[in-house]
Each structure stands twice: as C-alpha cells, then as structure tokens.
Symmetry: C2
Subunit: 332 residues, 2 copies
C-alpha cells in the first residue's frame, strides 16, 4: 500500500521555507502483531518543532534529514492486529507526517470524542492545555488579586493561561500581534486588558500603565524584546514560567539583549524553564481540571484549522508569522 509522507529535506537557516520539506510516496509494509494501520485526521503543528529542525541538543532529539517530520497526530484505526484497538477507534500519538501510518499499540492512546472534539486532544486537553495548566499553576502559583501578563496570549497555550489565571481570581493582561487577536482575547476569553505589540509604540510604558501594581506572574511564550518590556515591570517575588521563546527560534545568530539578572536578583524573582514532560506523572490532575473547567463553560478554546495534508509545511511556517489564533491544526 502506498502513502505520502513529508520529510525534512534540509535544515532551515532562520525561518523555515517550503524547500526544507519534501513530499514522498512510500510503500507501507503489512501490519504486524500489536500494530495498527491508521488514517491521519488532525496533525499538530507546534512552535517547539522548530527546535527539532536544528541539529542541536535539546529536550527532544532533532528530526533527521530525509526522515519524516513527527508530531502529535489524531488518527482513525483502519486495520488492527492489536487487541487494544478496533477499526474506527480514534487515537492520539506522536507519529510521522504520513497520510497512512503504521504504529505499534504502545505508542497510541485512545481518545474519547464524546466529551470533546477529537482535535481538542491536540490543544485544550493535550500538550498546549497541559503546558498552560502546569506552567501557571505549579510554577506561577497564582494568588487571587495578582497581576498576570501572558505573551503569545492568542496562541494555543496563551489563551488557556489567561483563562486559568482569571479562574484563579487574577487580573490578566494579554500581549498578541494583531487587533483581531487582542479584541478576541477580551470579548471571547475574558482577558482584562490587551496590548498589540505590533502597533504599541512603547511596550514598557504600556505595560506599566496597564499594571499599576506591577507584574506578579509573567508567563513567557515569546522571549526577546517583548519579554524585556514585561520584566522591566516585574514585581518583588514575581514568578516567570518560561514556556516558549518563539521570537528567537528562527535567529541564526546568538540573540543579544539586556542582562536581566540584576533585576531578577534585586527583586527576588523566580524564573523556571520547563517542558510539559517534566509534569508527566501529574497529567491526570491537569486533564481533570481542564476538562471540568471546559464543561462548566469557564474555559473556552479556539483553533485555526488548515485543510489538506499538503498544507502541513505552510501551517508550521505560519506559526512564526502569527497566522494562528489558538491551536494551529492541519486537517487531512
């Protein structure tokens, strides 16, 4: 049986281009015991994948040249030689970018599409939602009345962070890159105030004005000069969950900026880098809270769904241009 796959053709320098990817037709083998044949439904594109396109040591191994890109995929079981899965089951796994995929049962997890749309398992109930939950609750440790600033606020993680902070009784300021996004953050997701960093002339001053009591928690998804502006308004004993640095992922040279340590020192600030797998043993706690808040209507979610397996490289590149609001997903 034939299928198409998308491989890493070359490692990008700076922003990835379509030329860094290559579509191929490959022949799939017959499935073996404990394996299933899957048809891909939803493919996740996430900022962290940019790091895997480099050949550098990080928390996930780099993608290999001429090998398929891998990421979160929701798929339907078509054929099965596993007693755990029957045809028609909807599963989630870290899987190669192929239209049809052979996977071993231990790499798959059945999902319940009666409580949430299948694609939500790549977003609100998946990696981004859990990242928001654990980063905010276990590192940020919000206290009612505190001021929380979120960068990348209209992204898959940011919209969840802002809403959880509101549930905790905090005042929430979101930073995003367009007026459409900032309007949505206020109207749909309950953010108290927002800043469009693309039109704001003095970000440091704007944050100071919107945060008269200073910033107690800065949930950092973007890094760079936006973070400099927030941190210049940071409070004594503030916490900075360091979740993403998307503004720097395509830099080809070592980025340089103001040294932050003197400020972090004199104000007794905690900065904690994290990735979601650090919290793996506590995922059930996170999923339970996220699902319950969602059912109670306190936690909303949004997706930017791009149609067509062909669009996967374009969608991934689009993350770095701010093309998405909420979770960016490619539907096959």
């Amino acid at each position: 049986m034939n299928t198409r796959q998308i491989v890493l053709a070359s490692r990008p320098k700076g922003l990835p281009t379509e030329q860094n990817f290559r579509f191929e037709n490959i022949e799939l083998a017959e499935i073996q015991t404990n394996e299933v044949l899957l048809e891909g439904m939803y493919y996740s594109v996430d900022p962290y994948m940019r790091g895997r396109m480099n050949d550098t040591k990080s928390y996930t191994p780099p993608f290999q040249i001429d090998q398929p890109i891998e990421g979160g995929v929701i798929a339907r079981v078509v054929e099965t030689k596993s007693s755990n899965f029957k045809p028609g089951d909807i599963v989630l796994g870290g899987l190669p970018w192929r239209e049809k995929i052979i996977a071993t049962e231990k790499n798959l997890q059945k999902i319940d599409t009666t409580i949430a749309p299948a694609s939500y398992y790549l977003g609100l109930l998946g990696m981004p939602g859990l990242t928001a939950y654990f980063g905010l609750m276990h590192i940020g440790k919000p206290v009612a009345g505190e001021t929380v600033v979120v960068s990348g606020a209209a992204g898959a993680v940011g919209i969840v962070v802002g809403q959880i902070a509101k549930i905790q009784g905090c005042r929430v300021i979101g930073i995003a890159g367009s007026d459409e996004k900032t309007a949505l953050l206020k109207s749909e997701f309950g953010f108290d105030e927002t800043i469009n960093y693309n039109t704001c002339i003095d970000l440091k001053k704007a944050i100071a004005e919107l945060c008269p009591d200073g910033v107690d928690i800065y949930f950092d998804n973007v890094g760079g000069s936006i973070s400099d502006a927030v941190i210049s308004n940071i409070n004594f004993h503030a916490r900075i969950p360091l979740c993403g640095q998307i503004s720097l992922y395509n830099n080809t040279e070592q980025p340089v900026g103001p040294r932050l340590q003197p400020m972090l020192l004199t104000r007794s600030v905690l900065l904690q880098g994290f990735i979601i797998t650090n919290f793996q043993s506590r995922f059930p706690e996170g999923i339970q809270h996220l699902a319950q808040w969602a059912m109670e209507g306190k936690l909303k979610f949004t997706e930017t769904i791009v149609h067509g397996f062909d669009q996967l490289p374009t969608a991934l590149i689009g993350l770095f241009k701010g093309d998405n609001t909420g979770k960016m997903i490619v539907q096959a």
Copy 2:
C-alpha cells in the same frame, strides 16, 4: 561628645571613588531611655552596599546624600540606659558609619564571642554565611554527586558555598580572580577544581573540561561574561541561585549580553533571585548548621581585615577590585 562619621557626599557614576564619601565631625546627644552608646569595633563592607549608593528602587532603600553610610557593625557598649545591655557587651546591628554610635536597644543583638570571634558575626555566622547556606541549600538543593560551580568563590559568600557543597557530597569548582585565591580555595577550603578568570583564555571551554557531566548548580555571585560561560555548560534541571552580580554593579549603562532564556527553557533550568532577608524566619536553622559545621572543623572561614575607621571607603571600593579574600572587614 564628638565623633566622626562618614556620609555619602555624592552618588557614584561607575566605580565609587573616595570623593563620593565625606568625613565629618558631629556632636552626639545624650543617650535616652532604651538607648546605648557604642564604640564601633568591626565595620562590614559588602557588595550590596553599591546598590544603596544609587537612587534606585531595590530591596534596601538608597543611602541619602549627606547622611551617614549604614551597614553591619560590631560594637562594644560604653554607656547604657537599656536594661538589655550592660557596658562591655558586644553587639551587632545595622548602624551608621560613626566611631561612636547611639543606638536604640531594639536595633541591636548581643553576640556570643566565646563560640566565635566577634567579627565572624559579620561573616560566617552573619549575612554572608546565611546567604551561602540558604541560597545553596534551599534554592540550589544539592544532591550528592552533583557538580556545583561557584563564582566569586573566594568572597565571603563563595568560600562558604563551596564548603557546604562539599559537605553535601558534591564536586565543587570555584571561579576567582587570582592564582593566590584559587590556590587557597583548593588548599584551605577543599574545592575540587578552580579557575582564575583573569588568566583563563576560554572560560566556557575550561568549565566544560572541569565539568564533564555538566553543571547542576551554579551559585552566581558575579554575573556578566563569567556567568555566560558557566550557563553555556548548564545541565538539564539545573538550579541557579542568583546571589550577586558584582561584575555589573558599577556599570553606568544597561549591560547587554547573550539572551539566556532559550537555554534555560530547553534545559528546564530554575533561576531564583534572592536576598537573605527572604529567609529571615529560618535564620536559627542556618546559624545552627553553620556553627556546628564550623565547630566540627568542616567549615573554615577567612577574613581580609583592614585597619582604621579612615579606611572604610577604600575597603568598600576594594571589593569591586577583588582586594578581599573571604569577608572584608574594617577594624576600628
């Protein structure tokens, strides 16, 4: 009664000079109820005092122009109208730089000079020792077998950090600014390896070679390019107690350097700025451990004692030139 005092004559730009200080003769009033008259014995000079010479918001209020410098002082009670203190008692307090000092009883603490020399209450059993203890034990959380790097290793805090890390079973690398200091760190204080940053050509490489398993705890007293070199060798799940940034205290412009957040993020590193008063409620725990280790001979200490009240400005300035090994103190 007359005495001399040292006031802040002007705020320094960059490294302080003698011209930023002024000696004055003043008339002291009679002591009132609950007050004592003190004769200063040992005056502490500490890097944090540089920050108080600026007119900027920090964890301690700035020194005021034409007002005396204040710091840790060990003094002898000469006259007393306090039932808590009798003549001859040796006390510790945050006091003005005067040869004779009137103080209220609530700002003073009697010290026991039978268990340690009086000056140790400004060092090993005082602020620097407690800073080392709480920064390493409560933020660094050392585990036997881990690699600990200390910058400013020959300073009052650094020598204690290194020895406590050894007591905890860690491998300890100290960075200091002269061959005399690095030799002493190994011969006297049990550091496993040392680096003289003034003669080392490639600090990043030197640290990599001395830390083949990476750096698990970086106790940062200095900041700047030394810290950049250490952090480029930082391990996954490392901890960085952010204690001092002495290399930057005299900068007149916003210091700039490589952005560290991407590294701290991908390696899940914790960085925690702190000042010792954050741990005030736990001081008895710290003093008990420090005193016990000292009595058991596991924890040694050293001082650079400068003689003469006149020398206070010079001694303070000397901290930023690396004039001290261990605790810098001025003996009246």
